[in-house]
Amino acid sequence: MAYTEEELKKELETKEYEYGFYTDIESDTLPVGLNEDIVRAISKKKNEPEWMTEWRLEAFRIWSEMVEPEWANVKYTKPDFQKISYYSAPKKKPQYDSLDEVDPELLDTFNKLGISLEEQKKLAGVAVDVVMDSVSVATTFKKTLAEKGIIFCSISEAIKEHPDLVKKYLGTVVPRTDNFYAALNSAVFSDGSFCYIPKGVRCPMELSTYFRINQAGTGQFERTLVIADKESYVSYLEGCTAPMRDENQLHAAVVELIALDDAEIKYSTVQNWFPGNKEGKGGVYNFVTKRGLCEKNSKISWTQVETGSAVTWKYPSCILKGDNSIGEFYSIAVTNNWQQADTGTKMIHLGKNTKSTIISKGISAGQSQNSYRGLVQINRRATNARNFSQCDSLLMGNKCGAHTFPYIEAKNKTAQIEHEATTSKIGEDQIFYCNQRGIDTEKAIALIVNGFSKEVLNKLPMEFAVEAQKLLEISLEGSVG
């Protein structure tokens, strides 16, 4: 049978596509769009075992059936998922030869944050000579951890080196079916971190310095898995206070924490993605699924300081499965200009005598919208469950908004739930009072905001807290005219 002109053209197109496809595999970026072949290609590029490829494909199939959710309190143009490239090599080529070529405004911010020159170069994408210091730091760091049997590596490495652990836990806390973004992440995640603390081990350091150095190059679909075995403890710091400019608009990370019996995980985040300019253009959309599972007598604390992104959608949650387990959520979310944040937490009480604490501080300035959405669910079996929630909002000016949506579902009569909410404004009298003591308005606002956020800042590890304070200050600069 002779081809029709039309059929011929079509086949040629596909051929061309396939051809282009394979050459691209050799190079470092995959073509835009998402289908099973792309998922396979990602897995192949990362030399993953068969089971992992299958796991991703299943996630892709689930995602294909899902519809992107509508969120009541954030408005944005939805990304076109077929126009995104789902893989590019993690090591980007340096964009600049020296710091002189970098946007001075960005450098100014780095300086205010007290970031070292070497690190500034890294963050801004400037070519760096091998920094002996940080390399050796990272190495000694790894050695100390290894002595204790702690595994701390990239998730890709873990898939190859510790397949049993990954197989056992990946997707158990955030299943692929959980939500649209989690399914997408499961199909295409490019990298992220893996951490395992063996039984009875107290991780001797905050897992931070090393991480921060490596943070600059991480991709848009990160996957993190932290497992604290019985009676172990770890404090984990994620993120970076330096403003992250990224050409990738959509970020959809998944973080899973597993605290086995009597274990404790502290997970702290400082997030400062580019929020968009003053007119609200060009910011990052950040859709994150973070969830922890608590077994018997264990504890998970989420602490977060969110100042970035144009749109943030994020609910670090705890499933309090084991009896006597404890979940905590401490959050500061700042929105300025046209930013929109919809954050909060879910505390799911399944076990007996489970306890949860939620402290949420929302600060809105400019035209921004800041929503807290929290769910406290006490299941039938969860006798004597207790929750305390406190949601405070601080408004600056008249054009921004703060919204609180607490949902409570208690199916056990013994539950004790307390909820407190306040909304306040930075008063002109407060500012004048500070002014009169020699403190200018910008500094006065920083002081008042830090005071407002203190309960949460206190939960951060010391060095992080200092950075977070400066970050709050910078995020609100120019918000009062």
Partner: protein
Amino acid sequence: MLKIENLHASVEDKEILKGINLEVKPGEVHAIMGPNGSGKSTLSSVIAGNEDFEITKGAIYYEGENIEELAPEERAHKGIFLSFQYPVEIPGVSVTNFMKTAINETRKARGMEEMRANEMLKQIREKAEMLDIDRKFLSRSLNEGFSGGEKKRNEIFQMAMLDPKLAILDETDSGLDIDALKIVANGVNRLKRADNAVVVITHYQRLLEYIVPDYVHVLLNGKIVKSGGKELALQLEEKGYDWIKQEHAV
């Protein structure tokens, strides 16, 4: 040090100060008295640079300079201090932290280095002791949940820490018990030097027994209608304001 000439000020088009004249020289203590709503707090706010009030006429000179265009913090850096009638609460900010910020911002503006931590600590210890303030108190959130008297004592503590040239004390005595009044007044007296000045606003003669004024002024309906020595305060205590009101029938 301070010279106010025919000062008129209004808020939302309502004129509150209607031609104030006042001169305060270094080393002097002035008392301003007057009925409720006569404009005493407004006058102190305007001197401190509160932008809620608009100066419509006249001028304020501080150390020979017209300060109308100066922001409140700039006036503070130059040594103007106001003890508020109603001190404001700042939740989550400790007295110590607030003081540290205020001192270092002021030093920065004066081109000085930040105060060293042990120097700061020494100062805090000294001044807290002088005013009989429990140090635990200094770790509490500024004015939050403070009793009326505690707030006033804390204002004077701040004054002691900042060591201003011109201090305006707006009803610092109200809310203080008898013992506290003595302690605070003593504190103010110990801060008194030949090169600084104090303006006390009060309703009661009692404070003036401790902080003895060189001049007493009566503010009535936005104007200083009578000035005299400390005996004027005694007269007012005895007779009230009616006789002055009659003299200046409104």
